[in-house]
Symmetry: C2
Amino acid sequence: MIKVVLLGSGNVAQHLIEVMKNVSSIDLVQVFARNSNQLNHLLPSSKIVSDYQKIAAADVYIISVSDNAIAEVSGKLPFDNRLVVHTSGSSDLSVLDNKNRKGVFYPLQTFTKGKKVDFTPIPICLETENEQDYQLLKNLGNCISKKVFQINSEQRKSLHVAAVFVCNFVNHLYQIGNKICEANQIPFEVLHPLIQETAQKILELKPKEAQTGPALRNDTKTIQKHLDFLSDENYTTIYKLLTQSIQNGNKL
Amino acid sequence: MIKVVLLGSGNVAQHLIEVMKNVSSIDLVQVFARNSNQLNHLLPSSKIVSDYQKIAAADVYIISVSDNAIAEVSGKLPFDNRLVVHTSGSSDLSVLDNKNRKGVFYPLQTFTKGKKVDFTPIPICLETENEQDYQLLKNLGNCISKKVFQINSEQRKSLHVAAVFVCNFVNHLYQIGNKICEANQIPFEVLHPLIQETAQKILELKPKEAQTGPALRNDTKTIQKHLDFLSDENYTTIYKLLTQSIQNGNKL
């Protein structure tokens, strides 16, 4: 049994609580939250503390709070030389206070409040200062996921940028597609199978091999038709830039 | 049994042949192709013709060739007043020659050569000049798919533009994510679950509700970190534009 204290009550924290409380090899000893109301549906109140002095003993302390608060929370812990990790994709290992052993336990996924997540396929990206702590985090990661990776701070930074492209920006393109459909009285559901297939494709093909469309074909006639059709200046700019980027990328 | 003659031998044509030859309620009478070699693995040579004069009688003629060739092929058909349709998302109904009854049978999906496609969930977007032809195309569509929609030329044009955003451009963002991973010795597979979840999410949530990330949170610190990290000017431009677009879209 790995004893865990989790600190945080936000979106990622709640998903971690949800999965960790249900795994037999993890003992979720306690959760620290300034606002315990948010956790009442997940845990008995006896397991929730909001006073740093009452934090229990554990093998690992997982700080899952907003990036800006990691340093403060780690600094207020009333003990030293224990393993304290954060769950942030965009924060360096070094934001954690020096008095404890540092680590990162970053589940690379987009978490939606209220939407239950299967952790099994989610990559858990780990970083520690020493091998022993790495083994502990690896064991912990394996309790909830089949995919555990050693990723250093520099790599994690690049992963986080890449994630913005393939998740946040991709979703924004879905939103533009949705708006174009709405403006033309077409149910967005018509595009669902295309969206799913586009995502499925890259499980088998490299994205470069999976690329299709007028930009790749250099089909200037269709591209011009599309630009004429798009009245929104913002959409036109995005269309032109991504078309050009596809064409440049293809030359390389 | 609906009698079909298909004209074309390219990517979409091959996928249509594959599905139509295996459906009991469709009689794929014949395929017309200038280059029959491409179809030998799909059909007996007795079913393939390359002479317009030898085209058999059918209920519907499906022209599935490149956009530029639709007008020419439809003009060369040696008969009139039959139902002739094309399969193009970006072509108007009017590109078909006037001597026959016109229609569109547009399967909205990204087709990859050699990757077998399940047509059942693929939206078939139909347009005809009269109700009787519409019923015929609807019956034909229902033979291969559960989703048949009536979509006029103007709507289809908008759908095609939307499809470029949610498929071609999305795939390009996958490619950028892949390149960032490669440059930092990270297997792209680490991003696969995130990509799948991002696509799955919009089956339940509207894209606007599903949006996450530093742009939406107005997290200027993380955005600046990401811009500092990206050395490629093209990526920086795309990052800035899409970040801004997310922020503007959110204000509306």
